[in-house]
Amino acid sequence: MSSLAIDKAGPRRKVKYGSMSRDRTWALRWSYFFLTLFAIFSLVPPIYMLITSLKSSAEISAATNPWWVYHPTLSNYVELLTSNQYLRFFWNSAMVSVVVVALTMLISVPAAFALSRMRFWGSATLATGVFLTYLIPDSLLFIPLFKMFALFGDYTGIQLINRWYVLLFIYPTLTVPFATWIMIGYFASIPKELDEAALIDGASWFQTLTRIFIPVALPGLIAATIFAFTVSWAQFLYPLVFTTSTDQLVLPVGITTTLIKGDVFNWGQIMTGALLGAAPPLLIYAFLMDYYIAGLTAGATKG
């Protein structure tokens, strides 16, 4: 096969000789063409969200072109941003995400430091174990966790189910393993001479972490923070299981359960709510894209 292919290529190469740049321009044109196609595929749902959010209910139910806004209006935005319920969802989501990010960093940064620098009995096994727990999906754990928290309420009288702050206990199971894994990777790339110098100068382990490691591994810290925030903000299954009262819901669940009332779909508001709910991660992504991507690729490349 291969010899045949080479034989064929032999005479043909003469014909093509000198057309390298023309070949390349065509390859470039095709690349742009297909990238445009894929970009359209990627952006149709968010753009359609935006289009629908600018329409009134009357225009949505009229038989006009759905891809165009004939009478743009901001009434959906005004209505949602003045509704206490929606603001409550937003507030709950914000509280949960911010606290979970703080907890995640408080747990995973010292742990990653200890696992990457202070080798002790079982540290290598623990590092691998942390990564493996990242692979246990939420859909395997939600039933036993739900039962556990219900039993906890029965025994201690502290009712955590159907309170938004129950999520503060559960979300770290999603964010901490991966954040620790990212930080182990970043800490491991810091030259050993740096912390040796600090230790010789009389710094304690804690000072080495706060004065040397955290400043040097700041990009990794930002990537892990972004990761923890986006995961907490997007999580859907746990709040759906653990919270039911409308004043305890976070955004993803709030939008899907309260804006869809029976068979009546107020699509203008649903799309507005979803778009506003998607705004924080999109904004973070827009401004910190490089960190976002670094966090994304860290899992597989630094492993």
């Binding site: 359609y48 999906p137 939420d138 859909s139 039933i143 036993p144 039962k147 770290p172 901490v176």
Partner: protein, 315 residues
């Protein structure tokens, strides 16, 4: 390995000898390296132990109880599941869903990464930024947009298709189309992840290899088959494995789009376990269903562990 141990030991002995002279034995114990390290990892160990490992085993225990959770029934729940047609349908659908979605995500990701790699690197940033948007939007929110695009009476897709004379498609109402739609949304959401991974690894393939291949007269297909793919083998394997786990355990998209319908024909393990365990309050049966996701996890864990230990040996 040996050098690491040496380096790690020297500073410790320096640090621990100082407090030893200061007499207080508790203080010196607290400053010993292993104690400090243990205290630093303790929150992590507690979190994983109580809220990940324990529930995983608790699920095993729950699966052996009856519905009221008062009696031990052994494998009773599993025997009950094996006799139900819906269960086998869910097994089939989960596998079909995960395998098809991952194949298309990987294929699209690979193709798009190649095109993105072709264009000048200054413009790559902009394109990469646009193409990654589906991955950034929380899936619960973007799936609502898809639900609206698939709406039975106002579907924007049907409006567009009708211009070409293609009759209204019941996107989420017919079994075949509903499965197609659920997979399509999952591919839309997951392909950008593959694209980013592949693009990162494409950049690490040395140009000289392509030059050498070109001089040897390799066409573009041979360059991909003999140069690109072998160089990317690791990243392809690990990304596919990750995605297979995540897709197999997917909940959000199916739940919002079809909630398992029509007539349970798009249920996955996760959505079915939710329906039985939480909505139907049969916690033991729901736990038994979700446990069927464990075997694929175990297989994946074996491969990943092997990969990690291999890298450990190289280092």
């Amino acid at each position: 390995m040996i050098t690491m141990v040496d380096v790690a030991f020297q500073p410790t002995s320096v640090a621990s000898s100082k407090p030893a002279r200061k007499s207080s034995s508790l203080k010196s114990a607290l400053q010993r390296k292993s104690t400090v390290a243990f205290l630093m990892t303790l929150p992590l160990i507690l979190l994983i132990g109580i809220l990940v490992i324990y529930p995983a085993f608790y699920a095993l225990h729950l699966a052996t109880l009856n519905k009221a959770m008062t009696k031990f029934v052994g494998f009773g729940n599993f025997q009950f599941l094996f006799k139900r047609d819906t269960f086998w349908m869910v097994v089939e659908q989960s596998c079909l869903f995960a395998i098809t979605a991952v194949i298309f995500k990987a294929l699209i990701g690979f193709i798009v990464a190649h095109f993105a790699h072709n264009i000048p690197s200054k413009k790559q940033r902009k394109w990469r930024g646009m193409l990654l948007v589906p991955w950034v939007i929380p899936p619960a929110m973007s799936t609502l947009a898809w639900l609206w695009l698939f709406d039975p009476s106002y579907s924007a897709f049907n409006y567009t298709l009708s211009a070409f004379g293609i009759g209204p498609i019941s996107w989420l109402g017919e079994v075949g189309w509903a499965r197609f739609s659920v997979i399509l949304v999952n591919v839309w959401f997951g392909a950008p992840f593959f694209m980013i991974m592949y693009l990162a690894s494409l950049k690490s393939v040395p140009d000289q290899l392509y030059e050498a291949a070109a001089i040897d007269g390799a066409n573009w297909w041979q360059r991909i088959w003999y140069v690109t793919l072998p160089m990317m083998r690791n990243i392809i394997a690990i990304t596919t494995l990750f995605s297979l786990i995540v897709t197999f355990a997917n909940f959000d998209i199916t739940r919002i789009l079809t909630a398992g319908g029509p007539l349970d024909h798009t249920h996955l393990f996760a959505t079915w376990a939710f329906k039985i365990g939480i909505e139907g309050s049969d916690i033991p049966l729901g736990a038994s269903v979700s446990l069927f996701m464990a075997p694929i996890l175990a297989i994946a864990a074996v491969f990943i562990l092997r990969d990690i230990s291999k890298r450990g040996n190289e280092a």
